[in-house]
Amino acid sequence: MISGAEIVIRCLQEEKVDCVFGYPGGSVLHIYDALFKQDQVKHILVRHEQAAVHAADAYSRSSQRVGVALVTSGPGVTNTVTGIATAYMDSIPMVVLTGQVPSFYIGQDAFQECDTVGITRPCVKHNFLVKDVKDLAVTIKKAFHIASTGRPGPVVVDIPKDITAQMCEFDYPKTIQMRSYNPVVKGHLGQIKKAVQILQEAKRPVIYTGGGVILSDAAEQLTKLAHKLNFPVTNTLMGLGGYPATDKQFIGMLGMHGTFEANNAMHYADVILAIGARFDDRVIGNPEHFGEEKRRVIHIDIDPSSISKRVKVDVPIVGNVPDVLEEIVKLMDGGFKTDPEVANWWRQIDEWRGRDSLRYKQSEHIMPQFVMEKLYEVTGGNAFITSDVGQHQMFAAQYYKFDKPRRWINSGGLGTMGVGLPYGMGVLMANPDAQVACVTGEGSIQMCIQELSTCKQYGFPIKIINLNNGMLGMVRQWQEMFYSKRYSQSYVTSLPDFVKLAEAYGHVGMKIEKPEDVEPALRKAFTEHKDDLVFMDFIIDPGANVFPMVAAGKGLTEMILAEDL
């Protein structure tokens, strides 16, 4: 017989969890004591519970494993909600273990009590309250199973303190069967055949792929299929890296800040092959405008509810993306021929490409786009890029060419500022030797800046690329364009001296103010300071905006280009 707390740790060991991100407190003291007595599961002590969940989330995003966070009851839990919602929106597998007040106190407004299951219910794939120590191991098994199968997502397991003290036999189930949870994995062959037929008839095809390709590790199958078809490929923000950005068939990211060629190709395509993507509002713009063109849509997704949610789909294929793609390739071996008109479509796309919609003007100041280009050069395109949310995120997505999946780590769905730094920590725990750059702004970085302390404790050598324009850039851009330049609360006064701040935490700080200093500074950071966290404060052109842009409510082809202004 072992205690509930020891059962929790044994379960993590059985799941081959090598680290958890967490913060101790009253309700989880037994669990922390059990953690102390072993060394298989490492613990990363964050400075705020939000960062624990973000780090666990990035651990999952950057590997094929499930990140784990451990926090105490009450405020420990409420602090995790942003992180859980962030993971939920991007379908990231994660298990969050939360302490709860002793079961006999539940409902009595005990110290540090909150209704964890109630508070997290709308932003988890599933959650559990463990009411009996005998159910503890099987519940944790279920949590890992649910988090990592089907459309992945975060699962919360709430464990009352008395349960962690009770003794029980430990028996970890090898497999789990749930009559209420059996996600479909195999695509319907009839539908796949229909899809192949339509691909054959396509005259203006586009392959549009999202985060599902990354999550299901289908990059290889996608590349193989796309090469066989010779169709253009566009990625969503979440899908970047699912197809090599340097490949000639890649036409860039699409959507609100997508390229001219990607948005036009998507709009005017007669056949869209959508893979692990969900036609969200930032991708297709105004749905009525998008619906004006007649086209056929093939949609492959593990989640049936993502299909025909926003755009009517002609051929729905529910299944595991890599398996379905392999099935398509197999069927194509039997005398598949694409339509000769596709060549004309490519000519059209090349004409759109000729607009060079990501071109920007240099100025006397550092242009943020330039920093991203140099970052790409200096890291050889091999870095893991974590990002916060705002203009800098879009610049990173547009100018850093991701050739590999799981290298671009950002909050796409929820758009959570503050994730970048803790994301870097999670990436480094999953990929200890990786080069990691956190692209951020002076607004976002301050939302989780306390983690500089965690980075010092564990020696996380993150390179923070702070694109500092003294403005909440994306808010400022919208105010400039749609609110007659009334810059309501988007100007950040009293910024800290980031160099001194970094140094105060024991890190290296650099301030870069001239375009010619950008590359040398980056080189220095990635070579001389390879093993240090370097906070690089780039003072950038305060007027730089993200283009192309599809304004809210506009159609995909109604882009504002930099050249128009």
């Binding site: 109630g118 219910r121 599933h126 209420s180 509810s305």
Partner: protein, 163 residues
């Protein structure tokens, strides 16, 4: 369009709030909702009366199926089914109204299940429209209280919702 959704769901605490939360979070209507354990006490059966376009209904069933505790979902109103609702209605029953109430209850095949000097409680079962008609047929001033269970329904013949 009016739809009756039947759900088999694990009889766990919080199961109801998962379903109710889904409807409110995604802006779907619930006109009535009934729930009780089935012959297998580990399962509850829930009946939800809702409305919406075909697209909305498709999403409702897909989203319900996505809930981890949900075992099965059917849209009963897609095919032949029977539906019933039960109402208890307390009415004033004095003077000449007392006889009239009794007669109305008989016409609608209701039963009087509680009697005092001045009131009746009438039990009435049927399609929701029948209960509505009964209410409409009474003098509104005589209705003291009504309580309805919400719709429950079952497929006809071989249409069976079971694990």
């Amino acid at each position: 369009m009016r739809h009756i959704i039947s759900i088999l769901i694990e009889n766990e605490s919080g199961a109801l709030s998962r379903v109710a939360g889904l409807f409110s979070a995604r802006g779907y209507n619930i006109e009535s909702l009934t729930v009780a354990p089935t012959e297998d006490p580990s399962l509850s059966r829930m009946t939800i009366l809702t409305s919406g376009s075909d697209e909305v209904l498709e999403q409702i069933t897909k989203q319900l199926n996505k809930l981890v505790d949900v075992v099965k979902v059917v849209d009963l109103s897609e095919a032949a089914h029977v539906e019933r609702e039960l109402m208890l209605i307390k009415v004033r029953a004095t003077g000449k109204d007392r006889e009239e109430m009794k007669r109305m209850a008989d016409i609608f095949r209701g039963r009087i299940i509680d009697v005092t000097e001045s009131t009746y409680v009438i039990e009435l079962t049927g399609a929701s429209s029948k209960l509505d008609s009964f209410i409409a047929a009474l003098d509104a001033g005589l209705i003291l209280e009504t309580v309805r269970t919400g719709v429950c329904g079952i497929g006809r013949g071989d249409r069976i919702l079971k694990v």
